[in-house]
């Protein structure tokens, strides 16, 4: 029985089902209170968690997002049920941390992870095209490294407790969210009173949706980076059929909910600086490819006991801290008294993207098995 279910989820119908479920639930979360075109965004939501913990002080993006917690715990449940939970670690964790940091800096230049890029496009935000093109470019560079022997080395089976650390961290975050302790008079835990961080669906709904998606994604290995990588590397369309389903169904759901507005300018929580939208996601795509998974996939892997994926996640959360503390993130377009004020990107942000690309290229060139 268990093997039959596993075979279904590993099939094309299984991966398409995962895409369909995300394509319906993400826009619904937006309708239920999540920020516009941000039903689910792994990068943005980890950034909000970093803010809630005070790792950055951008007051408008601070909230402990239950979707992230649900992703890890849903994956944990699936892995335990199907006996796939396996604690493993030791494949160049420090490199994965650095890749996580720069992946986040790149994603926050664009203002979204690959999932949000798809959801932004499904909401009519044409800037997402630049983001997705950048993502594909970054992944294509990563594929060249993979072809020439790039490899972060083996992970090894380790104590079961190692695999439980990330799920337990998530339980800790859930407790902080539920009990909302304040650790000092003006201090954390911070919760935004305005801006995207203040917009959220009810806790139990967000957590449940996160867990459903975490469960499905663990079974199907849903991965947006892997989808593009497999097409470029070997013409394999398995994973991308799930990503295509997500995009198509999200468009339909948005149409039904009246959540589509097509254009480039003044899109919600987005800017229209094409070059840096593109380059930001190029950096993110390259970092994801070198780390072997998109931000969502890293959470699902962390839920099934992969300690290296957990380190990548922590890298992304710390990267969000750098990104906002050093003003590296993209500034969204705003509308002030009817006039559009185009957002954009700081010089420091540009320097950080270039530095990130140099670091990722160095990792790609220097970490490879000799034939």
């Amino acid at each position: 029985m268990s093997e039959k279910i596993t075979t279904f989820f590993a099939s094309r119908r299984g991966i398409v089902l995962a895409g369909v479920v995300i394509g319906v639930l993400a826009p619904l979360l937006q309708r239920l209170g999540n920020p516009p075109n941000m039903g689910i965004c792994v990068a943005c939501f980890e950034r909000d968690i970093a803010g809630a913990l005070g790792l950055h002080r951008a007051a408008v993006v601070q909230y402990i997002r239950p979707e992230i917690i649900g992703f890890v715990l849903g994956s944990l449940v699936a892995a335990l049920l199907f006996r796939e939970f396996k604690a493993r670690a030791g494949s160049a964790p420090i490199v994965r941390f650095v890749l996580g940091v720069f992946a986040m800096i790149g994603a926050l230049a664009f203002l979204g992870c690959p999932w949000r890029a798809l959801l932004r496009l499904a909401g009519g935000d044409l800037n997402a095209i630049l983001g997705l093109a950048g993502l594909a470019t970054g992944i294509a560079i990563g594929v060249q490294f993979l072809k020439s022997g790039y490899d972060l080395g083996r992970s090894y089976r380790t104590y079961t407790a190692v695999g439980w650390i990330m799920p337990l961290l998530m339980v800790g975050l859930l407790l902080l969210l539920v009990f909302r302790p304040q650790f000092s008079p003006d201090g954390p835990i911070f919760f935004s009173k305005s801006g995207p961080g203040s917009l959220h669906a009810p806790l139990l709904i967000s957590l449940s949706v996160g867990m459903i998606i975490g469960f499905l994604a663990q079974r199907t290995r849903f991965c947006t980076m892997g989808a593009m990588r497999d097409v470029i590397l070997m013409g394999d369309t398995h994973l991308i059929s799930g990503v295509g389903a997500l995009l198509a169904i999200a468009v339909v759901t948005n149409l039904l909910l009246g959540q589509i507005r097509v254009g480039f300018i003044a899109q919600p929580v987005a800017h229209s600086n094409h070059l840096w939208n593109f380059l930001g996601m190029t950096l993110a795509g390259l970092a994801f490819a070198l780390a072997g998974g998109c931000p969502g996939r890293q959470l699902f892997l962390a839920g099934e006991g992969d300690g290296d994926a957990a380190v990548f996640v922590l890298g992304m959360i710390v990267g969000a801290g750098f990104s906002h503390n050093f003003a590296l993130a993209g500034r969204p377009d705003t509308v002030v008294e009817g006039a559009v004020k185009v957002g954009g990107f700081s010089t420091a942000g540009m320097a950080a993207i270039v530095l990130g690309l140099v670091v990722c290229l160095a990792i790609g060139f220097t970490m490879r098995q000799s034939e």
Binding site: T6, R154, S155, R221, R229, M234
Partner: protein
């Protein structure tokens, strides 16, 4: 028999190593993996390329034997 030890390697390494081994034309090939994800990825790639895959569970790891 040619053996590809892909245990502990993350995706897509097991698939790349298996594909490289298949390209040498030497059959059968034995592939060792330690996750269901790698097992399914390698099986899908090999079957799509027209090979037969026999899977055997060894403890909580897997041995895939690839033949024509």
């Amino acid at each position: 028999m040619k053996v590809v030890d892909a245990r502990g390697l993350s995706c897509p390494q097991p698939v790349i190593l298996t594909r490289n081994a298949l390209q040498t034309g030497e059959l059968p090939i034995e592939v060792l993996v330690d996750t269901v994800t790698s097992r399914e990825n390698v099986r899908r790639m090999a079957e799509k390329s027209g090979f037969q895959v026999h899977i055997e569970a060894v403890g909580d790891e897997f041995k895939l034997t690839i033949t024509k």
